[in-house]
Amino acid sequence: MTNREIILGRIREALKVSAPHPVFHTGATEQPLFTAAPQKWLPPVGQTPGEQIDLFRQNAEALKAEFRACANMNEALQHVKKLAAVGGWKKIGRHRGELTDAVVRELGLVEVQTDHGYAVDDLESCDAGLTECEALVAQTGSVMVSAPSAGGRALSVLPPHHVVLARRNQLVSDLGAALQRVQEKFKDKFPSFMSFISGPSRTGDIERILVLGAHGPKKLTILLLP
């Protein structure tokens, strides 16, 4: 018997006796109870796009991320230039993309492009990582990234400052909507890595006191383009 057969055998034997069903709050429904949509229990999300941008900003800033709605690409570029000047950036990690290409054009920094692989030490010594994303989630103030949309797994977590470029039409109401979006986009061919990023990295492990910049980025900047 294979291990799989052993374990599945144990499970099937155990499940011969049924366990009491939990009571579902809102009473009888037609569909199986566990498929009910959670939206009505979760925190509310704004109805209009305007409300959602506000909610995203509020939540992202509460998580100590920097958020800026930019009128155009030039405004985004100027802001990144400022960050680079203030941060004394010399080297920036990034991937190729419509938005990232436009922003790095005038930065004049050494670039580590991750698209076709990279040397770990090169990426590790970058001052910032510039990526696009899959979605922005209003309900939580999160950025959803994936390997294809953010230049792989490490680019958005290894350099100490992560800068995200997103478009308005990438803003979704909640986590459920973000997950649905990627399910529709990738169908069965998912990337091997997707992540919800909610603020700069942090820890509460010392006396449960919040410290930013544990292992991941200490700073997160989200720039929203029209």
Binding site: R10, H116, H215
Partner: protein, 466 residues
């Protein structure tokens, strides 16, 4: 009394008398309570969310064979190697085998209680591999050579001073009182290790059947680094971690964060569905998922307590348990602490050896109230007590219970006992707290209330007569 129960009592005695510990834990948790309540209140209905979460886990666990098969076939379709581990030894052997096969030297690990459970670090060290804990709290307790204090906050019992001393001692860092500086020490140490390690080991918070992915929740980013840079990623996943659908995370991620850490959402919630896919710039060449049984199927077979497998390891029950807060996480002497630990450890490690954890409870029910998936925790402690007694009644206790029943079935006996008690009161006061005191367990630390001069029965009779 077995050795585990003895050790529990000794440890509990030490910690309950330690007022510094009591104070530190109280401080650490007050911030959590406030934040937890703030984010719970943002839910349109926390109670509705709990009901749905309970329902989803019920579905997953009660159809576990189906969902596990779906999970595995989806994983394998994208090149993940899946190993079904019937027990801890099998899991350890497999993981050590993978490390050997790939001539790994250094292993980096992100937080996994399951890995604690199977003593994986020990096995890897004995096999000659260097293994580093990347999670700050786990790294701290690893340096101190002690087990994690709490499921979610492994170093909760330490002050910054103690951590500073530890780092100074073991790493030669400058002493500092600043939590940020201490964190930066660990950050610098870990960064080298991520970049050099050949193998990264993680746990998983959830196993998504529908899409064949594991989901890892963390704040620090160490799990993301552990699973991005090394060329091998091994994830150790308890079979009970299954959720049916990707969309279920929309409910579970916020609930886990709120109940477990008093956050609206944890900093990184990452989905891993395979090794590096064609066209991806980085990621492991090989992704292994080790599915662990290790007696979870025994808990599954106990239909009355099966819902204990719904646990999402949030730690909310620990955070509200007055026993946990007073005896501390280390007193439990086993991987899973607090109420959930007391419920499941008898199933995972033996009822007679671990029933004392179920006995060391006032059954206040705060745990059940706090559980985001509505596990009937405190009632399961009662069930464990009953099961322990049925399997192994002790003669002395049986006699005492027999005596109790006889007394309660014969009011005359009951009243006689009560009047003896009343008469003996002055004697008890005189003997109070000494070896001869029959109520010494109480009277050593608390005064004994004077029994009423007249029992209710006597007052009632007097009233009737007049």
């Amino acid at each position: 009394m077995n050795v585990y129960a003895k050790e529990f009592n000794e440890s509990a005695r030490r910690y309950t008398a330690d007022l510094h510990h009591r104070d530190l834990i109280h401080k650490a948790l007050s911030g959590y309570y406030a934040k937890r309540d703030e984010f719970k209140n943002r839910f349109q209905s926390w109670s509705g969310a709990r009901d749905l979460a309970a329902e989803i886990k019920w579905e997953a666990i009660n159809h576990l064979d189906r969902y596990l098969d779906e999970f595995v076939s989806k994983l394998e379709a994208r090149g993940t190697k899946v190993f079904w581990a019937p027990d801890a030894q099998a899991a350890r052997d497999y993981i050590v085998g993978v490390a050997r096969q790939h001539q790994v030297r250094a292993v980096i690990k992100s937080k996994s209680m399951t890995a604690e459970e199977i003593h994986l670090n020990d096995a890897l060290e004995k096999a000659g591999f260097e293994i580093a804990e990347s999670d700050l709290g786990e790294y701290i307790v690893q340096l101190r050579e002690e087990p994690p204090y709490h499921l979610v906050f492994p170093a909760m019992h330490l002050t910054r001073q103690q951590i500073s001393d530890l780092f100074h001692d073991k790493l030669g860092s400058e002493p500092t009182n600043n939590p940020e500086d201490l964190t930066m020490v660990a950050r610098r140490v870990m960064r080298r290790k991520y970049c050099k390690a050949e193998m990264g080991i993680s746990g998983a918070n959830f196993a998504i059947a529908e899409t064949g992915m594991i989901s890892i929740t963390e704040n620090e980013g160490n799990a993301r680094l552990t699973t991005s840079l090394p060329k091998i990623h091994v994830a150790l996943v308890g079979i009970e971690k299954v959720l049916p659908r990707l969309s279920d995370l929309a409910l579970f991620l916020p609930m886990l964060a709120t109940a477990g850490a008093g956050q609206s959402i944890t900093c990184y919630n990452t989905l891993y569905g395979g090794p590096r896919q064609p066209g991806e710039p980085d990621g492991p060449e090989e992704f292994h998922v080790v599915l662990l049984d290790n007696r979870r199927t025994e808990l599954l077979a106990d239909a009355e307590q099966r819902d204990a497998l719904h646990c999402i390891r949030c730690g909310a029950c620990l955070n509200v348990c007055p026993i946990f807060k007073n005896v501390g996480g280390h007193s439990y002497g086993t991987t899973y602490q607090g109420p959930i630990g007391s419920v499941i450890t008898p199933h995972l490690r033996g009822l007679q050896d671990w029933k004392h954890l179920s006995q060391a409870s006032s059954l206040c029910g705060a745990c059940t109230e706090a559980c985001p998936v509505k596990i009937n925790l405190h009632h399961h402690l009662l069930h464990n007590r009953r099961n322990a007694v049925r399997a192994h009644p002790t003669l002395l206790e049986k006699l005492i219970q027999f005596g109790f029943v006889r007394m309660m079935c014969h009011p005359a006996l009951y009243q006689f006992a009560a009047s003896v008690g009343r008469l003996a009161q002055p004697l008890q006061r005189w003997l109070g707290g000494t070896i001869l005191d029959p109520v010494r367990a109480w009277a050593k630390t608390r005064s004994f209330p004077p029994l009423a001069k007249k029992s209710f029965r006597e007052l009632w009779r007097e009233r009737k007569a007049s």
